[in-house]
Assembly symmetry: C2
Homo-oligomer: 285 residues x 2
C-alpha cells in the first residue's frame, strides 16, 4: 500500500488541527488556503507542506465553512483525480444538496463533522489533540462508495476521534439543538453587555463568563453555519421564544411554581447532559 | 477591643464559606440553620461552632435567600441585642423594603452581597477561598449606621473580598443583567435537552457544557432570587424576546447581514466583559 497522503483545503482551526494530528502519525500532508499567509502559518506549525500543482493526494479534506463545501468539492474533484473527499462542516444536508446540484461526483465524497472546536479560530489556535476521544460524525449518502466512507473513517480515527455514522438530516437537527442555537443564545446574551459600564460588568461572576464564552466565536464562520441550517434552527428558536414568553408571564404574575418548574427542568436537562457525557445511562433521581 | 464574634444564619454554600474564611482568621464564629444537619456538617468542616442561646455575637450575617432576609433580620434583632447585621442575598431592594415594613431596626443593618458562587450548593460545596479578590457589594440605606456599614465591610475584607458600595436598585439592575437573566437563559436552554436521546447529547461539545453550567444551580434558591427581582428581570427578558424575534425574522428571510451583525455584537459584548475582568479600559480593535 502506498504511503498515505492527505490534502487539506482550509488552514483554519479545524484544518490545521487535522494536519497536525495526521502529520504526527507520519502521514504526508499538503495544505492549501485561499489566504496564503494562513497556509504558511499552518505549515510552520507542522501541519503539513504547501500543496503544489504536482501533489495529487489520495484523500482530500475540505475544512471550509458549510457554504463553501460544494464549490470546493467540485473544484478539487477536477484537480485531484482518483482521490476521495470528505469535509468538516457543522451542517451536512445543504452542502450535500448543493454538491448534487453542482454535478459533483458523489461516489467519492463522504460528509464528515469532527465534534470539536474552540471559540478561538485560525491556525494558531490549532492543536493535534483537538479531536482526541471526541465524536466525528460521518454522513455517507446513498451514492457514497465504500472506499470514500472507509477513508473518511480512517482520517477520523487517525486524528484520535471516534467515528459515528448518522443520517445528514438527523445530524443537522442534533447540532442545531446542541451547538447552533446555544451559539446564538450566547451571542444574544453577550450582545446585551455591550453598553454596560465597567463597574457593572465587574460584578459578573464565572456564570456569565461561561454562558458567554461561545459569543467569542468567529462571526463570519457562524453566519455561514447558521444560514446553512436556518430551517432547523428556526424551529428551535421558535420553541425558545415560547419558553421565554412563558417565563415572562410567570414573572409578571409572580407565579412561583411556574418559575420553579422551569428551573427544575433546567436541572433535569443539565443532569441528562452530564450523564450522557459520562456515557452512563440515565437513572431516576 | 473584644475579640471579634460573628453569628451566621444559614449554613449553605455562602454561609459556610464565610464561616470557613472567618474561622481561618481566628474569628469566633457561631452557626445556625433551621436544618440542624446542615449546621452540623458546616461545623464539622470547620466553619464555626453551634450557635447556643448564650451566644450573643457582635455581628450577624444572614446567609439566607432574599425572601427570608427580612423575617430573619427581625427575629435575630430580638435575640441578639446590640449586634449589627448584614445579609448576602443576590437581590437588595425588596428585602430592605420588607425589613422596613416588618418594623426592623434599619440603623443596625447594612445590606451585602458577595459576588461569588458555584452551581453547587450546600455546606459541602463551601470553600474558605470562595470570595478571594471578588467584589462584595454593600448597600447601606439612609438609616444605616456607620458602625453597621464598617462592620459589614470588615466581614467582606476578612473573607478576602473587595467591598464595593452601591445603591440597592443599581445593584439589582446590574445583577439582573449579569447574573439573574443568564441563569434563566441557561435553564431554558438546558430544559430543551431533557428529552434528547443520549446519542444526540453525546454530540454536544464544551460550548453547550459551558452554556448550561448555571442550569445546575439550586432551583429553590433561584426561584426566590428571581421572584425578588422580578420587575427588573422582566425588562431584560422582554428585551431578549425582541432580540430573539429579530433573529427569527433574519433566519426566515435568510438575511445574512442581520445574522452577522448579531454575532458581531456578541463578539463585542464578550470582549467588553473580558476587558472589564482584566480591569483594563476598552480600546478600539
Amino acid at each position: 500500500m502506498a504511503a498515505r497522503s492527505v490534502g487539506i483545503v482550509g488552514a483554519g482551526l479545524i484544518g490545521t488541527s487535522i494536519g497536525l494530528a495526521l502529520s504526527r502519525q507520519g502521514v504526508d500532508v499538503v495544505l492549501a488556503d485561499r489566504d496564503q499567509e494562513r497556509a504558511r502559518i499552518a505549515g510552520a506549525l507542522g501541519a503539513g507542506r504547501a500543496w503544489t500543482r504536482d501533489d495529487v493526494p489520495r484523500h482530500v479534506v475540505l475544512a471550509v465553512p458549510p457554504g463553501a463545501v460544494a464549490a470546493e468539492l467540485r473544484r478539487r474533484q477536477r484537480t485531484t483525480p482518483g482521490a476521495v473527499f470528505t469535509d468538516t462542516a457543522s451542517v451536512k444536508r445543504r452542502p450535500q444538496e448543493e454538491a448534487a446540484q453542482l454535478g459533483c461526483d458523489l461516489d467519492s465524497f463522504c460528509g464528515g463533522h469532527p465534534i470539536a472546536g474552540r471559540e478561538l479560530s485560525g491556525p494558531t489556535a490549532a492543536s493535534a489533540d483537538l479531536f482526541r476521544d471526541r465524536p466525528w460524525v460521518l454522513t455517507p449518502a446513498g451514492a457514497t462508495s465504500t472506499r470514500a466512507r472507509d477513508e473518511a473513517a480512517w482520517v477520523a480515527t487517525a486524528c484520535g476521534a471516534r467515528p459515528v455514522v448518522m443520517d445528514p438530516s438527523d445530524h443537522d437537527v442534533a447540532l442545531g439543538l446542541v451547538s447552533h442555537v446555544p451559539q446564538l443564545l450566547s451571542s444574544l446574551l453577550a450582545a446585551r453587555m455591550v453598553d454596560l459600564p465597567d463597574d457593572v460588568l465587574r460584578l459578573a461572576g464565572t456564570g456569565l463568563h461561561d454562558t458567554t464564552r461561545l459569543a467569542g466565536s468567529d462571526p463570519a464562520l457562524w453566519d455561514d453555519i447558521v444560514r446553512a441550517n436556518a430551517e432547523i434552527i428556526l424551529d428551535v428558536v421558535q420553541a425558545l421564544a415560547g419558553d421565554l414568553e412563558d417565563l415572562r408571564l410567570a414573572l409578571a404574575a409572580d407565579h412561583g411554581e411556574r418559575i420553579l418548574a422551569l428551573l427544575r427542568a433546567g436541572n433535569d436537562g443539565r443532569t441528562r447532559l452530564l450523564r450522557s457525557r459520562a456515557g452512563a445511562e440515565p437513572v431516576p433521581t
